[in-house]
Symmetry: C2
DNA sequence: CTGATAACATAAGCTCAGCTTATCCCATGT
DNA sequence: ACATGGGATAAGCTGAGCTTATGTTATCAG
């Protein structure tokens, strides 16, 4: 239904509005950076397409007809509205706010503690974080960038390794002292072990694999506490309820501050890790690139 | 302050609105009667001029960005407003209402009695009459057409003779009977004479000139009543207060109905008269031409 | 009264914006 | 693996929209 067959070239309305406001084709030409004959011909073209006189030519200028007055009123308001919305759009670049998708653990232990630094460096960039306990669904999520744990293979996306998966047992200093340390792997199972349920689809390192990679065989400890949520597991470890698996660099801050002790001699590494993932369909904006550079630093 | 340097070419907004509504450049091209590459390039030009992406290109089409949504809303309302006002202007041609300038006498005695007939013949034409007792000031009056008494010379205007000045004494049948008729000019001055003051700038026939044109010399009657307004003079004649000068065809209706008696043997004609006067600056519209044709009939 | 001035109208010529055709690329569906 | 749809891009053409030049008219000033 809406089509331009019933509209004259709209640029003619811009010229009309200027001439009608200034009541002079010569003045309009000056304002529009063109010439009087151009304005004269364009007004003529507009009047011809409408079949209505918009101006009455008088000595040294023009005056508006009734039809001209009516058209001026609407044209001025429409042009004003359009100018305002175009100005609004230009002032709010799409790249000013970026959305980041990641899992809960990375968001909680790594990103959130460090985000103030990014914000200090980039005051004009607003970060919105989408987190999920389960595997992030990239297809339905329109994030600008994702930081995901895994192998780094996502169809339609480019993934770049950010952090390798380095895992080691961690416990509180209190528990460590209570058991007199853990010189060997076999000593670990004397204490309660904190286990993350891996049935959420996440390919996380677990105790079984850690023992294998350390050249030993995992035998279930008599006391194993299971968690669905890594943050709860970490809290349990901090409060001395058992030994958990710590992922570098998620728990680095706790280890550095002495809240947790890393049993680094049992550290293992896999080919998994956290990756920066962006869509192949969109070149990253300047803001997204700035965020990615900061992640890598 | 308002200038087009801050507006993109507005035709781009027409193309944008179609593509945004249909969410497809190909469909927009069909609607606008052009081709998909043209639409693609125009949208790109618009996005480049704004520095903002308005569409996200997806499989088999496009979706709007936030900025695109904002722009669509305003563009649709502005285009709708403009379409409506342009339609309104086209439907109400300026030529539907015409303004006629004339003097009071012509308006009162000739035009107004006949106007219903014109209206019956032209139901779509609205007449607006501007009258004046003094000489009509054409320069400041923006009438479409004027009917003026005079010689027919007006700078910047085309004048066409409508009615010659034919003047004769008139009186009421009562007065005529009271004086037993007026066989000769000399008999006229036995009765009171009604005189129009000519100091208004109007070049009207007066008693002096009428006597001269009848080969006699005007000697003031003992009883002369003067009037500034011809309608009052006519009323005085009708009510039997004296003999007045009647202008054909202004008083034709009264003579025909017997309200007044024309002393036709003393009728004179000058080179003055009523003229149809139109501006050289404007070709008459169809309505004005219809009115002029009707005047002549 | 004459000449100057301002401003719109018109004519003719030039040029590049806006269109076209052709082709490429990609995602999806069968 | 092939077909299809739809946006992106390149290259070429043309006429809309501009320019310069000139004509016309009304008004003003000397």
């Amino acid at each position: 239904m809406l089509s331009d067959s019933d509209l004259p070239p709209l640029q003619l309305l811009v010229v009309f509005e200027s001439a009608a406001r200034l009541l002079s084709f010569t003045a309009a030409a000056r304002e529009l950076g063109t010439t009087q004959p151009a304005v004269s011909q364009q007004i003529q073209a507009l009047e011809a397409s409408l079949g209505v006189a918009l101006f009455e030519r008088v000595y040294r200028g023009v005056v508006l007809t009734d039809a001209g007055h009516i058209l001026l009123k609407t044209t001025q308001s429409s042009l004003r509205d359009l100018r305002e919305v175009l100005q609004k759009i230009k002032q709010k670049p799409k790249s000013q706010r970026i959305s980041v998708a990641t899992d809960f653990a990375f968001a909680a232990f790594w990103l959130m503690p460090r985000l103030p630094e990014f914000r200090r460096l980039h005051k004009d960039i607003d970060i919105r974080i989408h987190t999920s306990q389960s595997e992030v669904d990239l297809a339905s999520l329109e994030a600008d960038v994702a930081v995901l744990f895994g192998e780094g293979q996502y169809q339609g996306y480019v993934a770049e390794k950010l952090l390798p998966e380095v895992v080691y047992p961690v416990c509180s200093p209190k528990l460590y002292a209570e058991f007199g340390g853990f010189p060997g792997l076999a000593d670990l199972i004397k204490a309660p072990l904190l286990k993350l349920n891996a049935d959420m689809g996440q390919k996380w390192m677990d105790w079984d694999l850690l023992f294998q990679l350390n050249g030993s065989q995992w035998t279930p400890s008599e006391s194993v506490m299971e968690f669905d949520n890594y943050t709860l597991l970490a809290q349990a470890a901090i409060s001395g309820q058992g030994i958990g698996l710590g992922w570098s660099p998620l728990l680095d801050d706790f280890i550095q501050s002495g809240v947790l002790i890393a049993l680094s001699e049992f550290a293992v590494q896999s080919d998994h890790g956290y990756h920066i993932v962006v869509s192949k369909k969109r070149a990253p904006t300047a803001s997204v690139s700035a965020f990615i550079d900061w992640l890598k630093s």
